[in-house]
């Protein structure tokens, strides 16, 4: 009995869906717009994250050592820095390497290179480049460096640290932390508002399509149809609408990301849209497909329910 009913409900839902071509098409369009907005938000979120990370990675704190500081002292400081939970990486650049870097940076600047040669000695000290896990944590690292000054005295009693450029970077770091925070908050609110509005629009569209069928519903009731038998086909139609729109949107986005990536890649500072879409496809698929189905079914269910009271 259940098998027969399920089959009939499904068949009837399919029939309604295809015979009401224009109505189904408009529901699909509206739902597609909702899903389009959702997908855009997901991808935009990915892009935002990527670019913030890019900027974040460019920020660091550099510890410049005096020339002639012993490597062992520097390494012990590097070790204690790496032990800090806020630190994500500490990169050691020896004074020779620093010189080589400097030379290659100024290879077209004869004057500077000449001046360097005049000096004879390597004027550059070793450097530790410290990256924090989060920009807001640089302050903590700087304090740590201040407090451990006693440890950084060389045997001769002079401080091996020449300068820590935290103070100069501080303004940039603070501003960046602020921007990241507010962009995240604004982004989440925008996403919530957009998704909410489009959900309401979709829900109302489906409600309208069912409103048009309200005479049909009353006929079904008169013929003696049980409530579940009346609801069933509408929910099947909603389901179909959700499935078709979500597949449509997933395909459209594959095309969009591919094309945008191909022609406008330079606007995205190295962010590979298509790659991101493909890499996160399963997650996006689950969200979009799931939302489409849930939206279609729940809207239909609630809309029909209204005409089954009494």
């Amino acid at each position: 009995m259940f098998g027969i009913s399920a089959k009939r409900i499904f068949r009837s839902g399919m029939q309604n869906f295809f015979r009401n071509g224009i109505v189904s098409l408009s529901s699909i369009l509206v739902m597609s717009i909702t899903l389009f907005i959702m997908t855009s938000i997901i991808i935009l979120g990915g892009f935002l994250n990527y670019s913030l990370n890019q900027v974040r990675n460019k920020v660091d704190v550099n510890v410049y050592f005096v020339t002639g500081a012993a490597d062992t002292d520097i390494f012990s400081l590097q070790k204690s820095l790496e032990a800090l939970p806020e630190v994500s990486s500490v990169q050691y650049v020896s004074s020779d390497q620093a010189l080589a870097d400097f030379k290659s940076k100024h290879q077209n600047d004869e004057l500077t290179l000449q001046a360097l040669d005049e000096l004879g000695d390597n004027p550059l000290g070793a450097v530790l480049n410290i990256k924090a896990k989060d920009p807001s944590q640089y302050a903590g690292i700087a304090t740590f460096l201040d407090n451990t000054e006693s440890q950084t005295l060389s045997e001769g009693g002079t401080n091996i640290i020449d300068t820590v450029n935290y103070a100069q970077n501080k303004v940039v770091i603070d501003r960046l932390s602020g921007i990241i925070k507010s962009v995240n908050i604004i982004g989440i609110w925008f996403a919530i508002i957009f998704v909410l509005v489009s959900l309401i629009v979709t829900f109302n569209t489906i409600r309208l399509t069912i409103f048009m069928a309200k005479d049909e519903i009353s006929v079904m009731r008169l013929v003696g149809a049980s409530n579940s038998y009346i609801k069933g086909p509408f929910i099947v139609s909603g389901l179909l609408c959700g499935i078709i729109s979500s597949i449509l949107i997933l395909i459209i986005f594959a095309a969009i990301t591919f094309v945008v990536n191909h022609y406008y890649n330079s606007y995205f500072v190295g962010f590979d849209l298509f790659q991101y879409y493909i890499a996160n496809f399963l997650e996006i698929f689950a969200i979009i497909f799931g939302s489409g189905i849930i939206l279609g079914c729940i809207s239909s269910y609630l809309a029909v329910q209204k005409y089954l009271k009494g």
């Binding site: 009731r221 013929v223 149809a225 049980s226």
Partner: protein, 228 residues
């Protein structure tokens, strides 16, 4: 057997649609209910279908008190009654065949029964060649015949025909009445509401006359005597 026992219906706005109406309809009877618009004919029909509840009084079908039916049982009860309306009330997105098979699906018939019974009733109302047309492709008379086919396909005990000929020309009207008569001859109770004098006079069956919510006349072999 259907019994209306002192049924009164007052709508929330104070309109009295039925006042202390009592009547008994025997099985296999053909009863016509006549009266002006607003006399209470449709309200009477709606109450029998459990679409409206009486303000006071009881309606029985056999030993079943219709007003005491639980909500989830109403659709089982409605399957015992076939309905035909002035505005046909067909499902616009279903073909003639599907409109009829839909009613059978509702009552849980299996596919074999459906494929043997639907052609049978289509033949009875002479619509075999329109089985795969949609309602908007049919004339008024044809639509009403589909509605009748749908009403009888589950072999209900009763058929309520509420102004079934209201939208039809005299030839189609006569056709519909002949079909209803044929169904009655096969053993189904028919309750027909109408204000078509010709129909009533041609039938020569029981006529109940209503006015302002009251039953004012009940004739065994009635004629239409409303407009004195």
């Amino acid at each position: 057997m259907i019994v209306f026992d002192k049924v009164t219906k007052v709508y929330p706005d104070g309109t009295v649609a039925l006042e202390e109406a009592s009547l008994t309809i025997e099985p296999k009877e053909f009863v016509s209910i006549v009266g002006h618009s607003g006399a209470g004919k449709t309200t009477l029909a709606k109450m029998l279908l459990a679409e409206e509840k009486p303000t006071s009084g009881n309606i029985f079908y056999e030993s079943l008190d219709i007003n005491k039916l639980r909500k989830q049982d109403i659709h089982y009860f409605r399957r015992k009654i076939g309905t035909v309306f002035q505005d046909f009330r067909l499902l616009p997105n279903k073909t003639v065949y599907e409109n009829i098979s839909f009613a059978m699906e509702m009552s849980g018939r299996d596919d074999e029964e459906i494929s043997s019974d639907v052609p049978h009733v289509l033949d009875l109302v002479d619509l075999t060649n329109k089985a795969y047309n949609f309602p908007h492709e049919l004339s008024g008379g044809e639509k009403q015949r589909v509605a009748i086919a749908r009403a009888i396909v589950n072999q209900p005990d009763i058929i309520i025909a509420d102004e079934p000929t209201g939208n039809l020309d005299p030839i189609n009207t006569n056709e519909i009445i002949q079909i209803l008569k044929k169904i009655n001859d096969l053993g189904t109770t028919i309750i027909l509401t109408t204000h078509n004098k010709g129909v009533i006079d041609a039938l020569g069956k029981r006529v109940i006359t209503m006015e302002n919510g009251k039953i004012i006349r009940d004739d065994k072999n009635g004629r239409y005597v409303l407009y004195k």
